[in-house]
């Protein structure tokens, strides 16, 4: 972050905390680890149907395109005259009213790709024009920071996300923290001078052995929060809250919630996923709020694409393009961010992006984490100065 911008944010935060929900303390004492801003990322794997998450209730084009799946009626949670949340997202409506939830509308990228895997790699690689990226933007951004800290952690995963990969490491992954240990270390020669796969394996083993004790110690110091619902995402967020509350916990955590590829029989499946997401993230937010850390912890929720405006014939929706992102807590200003997506000016039946995900993440990296966002993304975003208006209007 450049000095002027930092100064502006600090002053703005101090002067009008109501208008811009900035965590004042983090800027007042930027070097104290206790107030370091934290980032939690939740990836909705499969392509979340944004249109049935934030329903454009005043738009006829939506109901015309979705005679069977279109949502309406009193169960929806109204945000304003034009938009309402899915009935399963009651918990989010409360967050929205408190200014703790931001809906970032119409996020995507140019020339959308409809493959889950290509699109996911674009989001995680940070580059539209690199067909098979081998590193992730978050891994690169973190690698340039203080080496002594815990690197970003992917929790509850059985595969390492590209997002955390660098040329030398796949990043820190933890399936279940209770299993993240070994009783006795093997005797291994430490002269790893080889390159390529061997060096990568050596790196992973060293990182695993050195962080396993530390992560468990960090978590053990912080008691688990209460009032979490019973779901696998909630379990993970409960653990993340402990790590986020610890002064020496990891600064960035990531997890995924799968099942969003709703080509058929969407209504029940999508409702269950959104309920899990809404209830778990709200519990997380309240847990941190109780601990006085909600303002320092930002939750960013995203998916590799939205779904097509028109429903298909299987009570489902096919792969689409732009969709909403969601931000909870932290310094986000709350409310609707970005312009509403047109449902008539379409690209081959798909929504056009009004906001590029690289702008959103540039702002998060630079203005929230306080890291450089230069050279993480490609195209017009390479210099790392783009903003989405998440933290400031």
């Amino acid at each position: 972050m450049n000095q002027t911008r930092r100064e502006f944010l600090r002053l703005a935060g101090a002067a009008s905390a109501g208008a811009i929900l900035l965590p004042k303390t983090s800027w007042a004492a930027p070097f104290a680890p206790a107030t370091k801003n934290r980032l939690v990322m939740i990836f909705l794997d499969g392509g979340n149907d944004g249109l049935n998450t934030v329903i454009p209730v005043s738009n006829d084009a939506y109901y015309k395109a979705r005679p069977e799946l279109g949502l309406k009626g009193p169960d929806l949670h109204s945000l304003n005259v034009d938009f309402a949340l899915h009935p399963a997202l009651a918990a989010w409506r409360d967050l929205y009213e408190q200014g703790a939830l931001s809906v970032v509308q119409g996020v995507g990228y140019d020339r959308p790709d409809y493959s889950h895997f290509v699109s996911r790699d674009i989001w995680h690689g940070g580059c539209r024009n690199t067909p098979e990226p081998v590193t992730g933007w978050l891994g690169l951004a973190a690698a340039r920071q203080n080496a002594g800290e815990l690197p970003p952690v992917a929790l509850g995963v059985s595969e390492a996300p590209l997002l955390l990969k660098t040329a030398v490491t796949a990043g820190l992954t933890v399936g279940d923290l209770a299993n993240f240990y070994v009783e006795t270390l093997p005797q291994l020669p430490q002269d790893m001078t080889q390159s390529g796969a061997l060096a990568m394996i050596h790196q992973a083993s060293s990182l695993a052995y050195s962080t396993s004790t530390r992560l468990r110690e960090v978590a053990a110091r912080i008691p688990a929060g209460s009032n979490y619902p019973d779901s696998s995402l909630a379990d993970r967020l409960k653990l993340m809250a402990r790590l986020a509350r610890a002064d020496d916990g990891p600064q960035v955590m990531w997890t995924r919630l799968g099942g969003f590829d709703t080509h058929a029989l969407q209504p029940g499946a999508h409702a269950a996923l959104l309920k899990q997401l809404g209830d778990a993230t709200a519990a997380f937010h309240h847990d941190l709020k109780f601990a006085g850390r909600a303002a320092q912890t930002m939750v960013v929720i995203y998916s590799e694409f939205g779904r097509r405006l028109a429903e298909n014939g299987s009570a489902g929706t096919d792969h689409g393009a732009a969709g909403p992102m969601f931000v909870i807590g932290g310094g986000a200003r709350g409310g609707m961010i970005g312009a509403a997506t047109s449902l008539t000016d379409l690209d081959d039946g798909n929504l056009k992006a009004g906001l590029d995900f690289r702008a959103v993440f540039s702002e998060v990296v630079r203005d929230w984490l306080g890291w450089s966002a230069a050279d993480l993304f490609d195209g017009a975003f390479a210099n790392g100065t783009a903003s989405a208006g998440l933290l400031t209007s």
Partner: protein, 458 residues
């Protein structure tokens, strides 16, 4: 890889030479433990005790042929109940551990490991299907057709009940197409991204209407089939059979599959000219995957030094390799548990894209599980080496001599895979280990060797 011992065998520059059969008689290189172990790792998951010595005495081409034997381990022999009865119980771990037992105990059945490739390729998850009969049926199809013409396998997959249900093909019908199966057919199963248009997908989805599942079996329902003409890749087609015939003739199909099989069997990347020649010949063989695997495993390219230890072992390769090397007769469920914790739960891939594989297998969570598995094997716990504990395999006379014992353990687990410098450092480390009070030298040696980065390469 420079750490492997043995003479340097260059990758032939000429594509014809790269694909010709590796023949020690012609001076291509030796037929020694190094090469035999390499072949066994890639074909069947690794050598069993005595297997390398035995095969070294046979001609190289005869050994490749030998690997095409069918499995002789039935579901009944593992679980004492018929396959149908077991499938009816709907327990994923039983079918998965039967598969792992075949991998661990069939001496030569290459089809077991090839089936892992196809399962990863046509990834279908038990949790969505939740029907043991259908998952077993799909597994059998992959085993039976996996070493034959790709066209037949691909055709079988678009009529496979588990696949149809997995990718919503069963709800794809006239007037209300569902693109899911059509999209993955092109992107993941046959052509790879960029080799089709969105319109091709929409038209292909219409061609597949009518394929559905009734009472658990495949049915073509004419009433649900869209009778209008469809245009895919600029050609008019009518139904699924047309679509498959057209798709496998797309230039991208043979290239996509041959390259992926190369990455599974030979090395992380194929030299473009070699791949091109391979693809041309494969087309002459009706895209017969058995022919392709046989050709690859027999080739000089396969035996080049740059191919050796160039791949990262999957969890299944690692677990199976350890059990094979140590003659284990494990509790079958323990292998499944171990592989699952390391990130490869058979019949439950992370999604239709299968496992990322390669370097993505190695991350901290997975690594600690690999370490814990090694520790349990060395300690003889979790029933992993039932009937054949380490002590039986390694001679008593070496039990207290670090250098000799390390040589024995390396010969069994990592034949010729550790360079002299690293070997020396490992030995020093073991000699000065403070753990003699809590663990035996044999246990610690085996544990450490299984945790060497080198051991996780194939």
């Amino acid at each position: 890889m420079t750490f492997a011992l043995g003479p340097l065998i260059p990758m032939p520059q000429d594509p014809f030479a790269a694909l010709e059969a590796y023949d020690p008689q012609q001076g291509h290189g030796p037929w020694d433990a190094h090469h035999v172990a390499h072949l066994l790792r890639r074909a069947v998951g690794g050598p069993m005790p005595g297997q390398v010595e035995e095969l070294q005495r046979k001609p190289a081409d005869a050994v490749v042929e030998k690997l095409f034997q069918p499995s002789d381990i039935s579901l009944e022999s593992i679980w004492g109940a018929s396959g149908v009865a077991l499938a009816a119980t709907n327990e994923r771990p039983r079918l998965a551990s039967w598969w792992l037992m075949k991998l661990a105990q069939d001496e030569y059945a290459l089809g077991n490991r090839l089936a892992v490739f196809w399962h990863d390729h046509f990834a279908t998850t038990w949790s969505k299907i939740n029907d043991g009969q259908q998952m077993l049926a799909q597994h059998s199809t992959l085993l039976v057709l996996g070493a034959g013409p790709f066209r037949k396998l691909l055709h079988a997959m678009i009529e496979d009940p588990a696949m149809l249900r997995f990718l919503d093909g069963d709800s794809n019908r006239r007037g209300l197409p569902n693109e899911n199966l059509a999209r993955e057919l092109f992107e993941l199963f046959a052509l790879g991204p960029g080799n089709y248009t969105e319109m091709d997908i929409r038209e292909a989805a219409r061609a597949l209407t009518g394929n559905t599942v009734r009472q658990g079996v495949f049915t073509f329902e004419k009433m649900l089939h869209d009778p209008d003409a469809k245009t895919v890749f600029g050609k008019n087609i009518q139904n699924g059979a047309d679509l498959i015939n057209l798709t496998v003739r797309q230039p991208a199909c043979a290239e996509f599959l041959a390259e992926k099989l190369w990455r599974y069997y030979v090395s992380p990347s194929a030299p473009p000219e070699v791949l091109q020649l391979l693809v041309e010949r494969w087309r002459d063989h009706d895209l017969d995957s058995g022919w392709l695997v046989r050709t690859l495993l027999a080739s000089r390219a396969f035996h080049a030094s740059s191919s050796m230890f160039s791949l990262i072992k999957s969890p299944v390769d690692y677990v199976v390799g350890v059990i094979r090397a140590l003659s284990g007769r494990p509790d079958p469920r323990e292998m499944d548990t171990a592989c699952s914790l390391m990130g490869q739960q058979l019949f439950e891939p992370p999604g239709v894209q299968g496992w990322q594989g390669g370097s993505a297998w190695i991350h901290t969570a997975a690594w600690l599980e690999r370490t814990k598995f090694a520790s349990a094997v060395a300690a003889g716990s979790r029933g992993l080496l039932r009937d054949a504990p380490l002590q039986k395999l390694f001679p008593t006379r070496h039990r207290l001599q670090c250098a000799a014992l390390l040589n024995e353990v390396l010969a069994a687990l990592l034949p010729t895979g550790l360079n002299t410098q690293r070997h020396f450092l490992l030995q020093k480390q073991l000699e000065s280990s403070p753990n003699r009070v809590t663990t035996t030298l044999l246990q610690e040696t085996a544990y450490s060797v299984m945790c060497l980065p080198e051991y996780h390469l194939s």
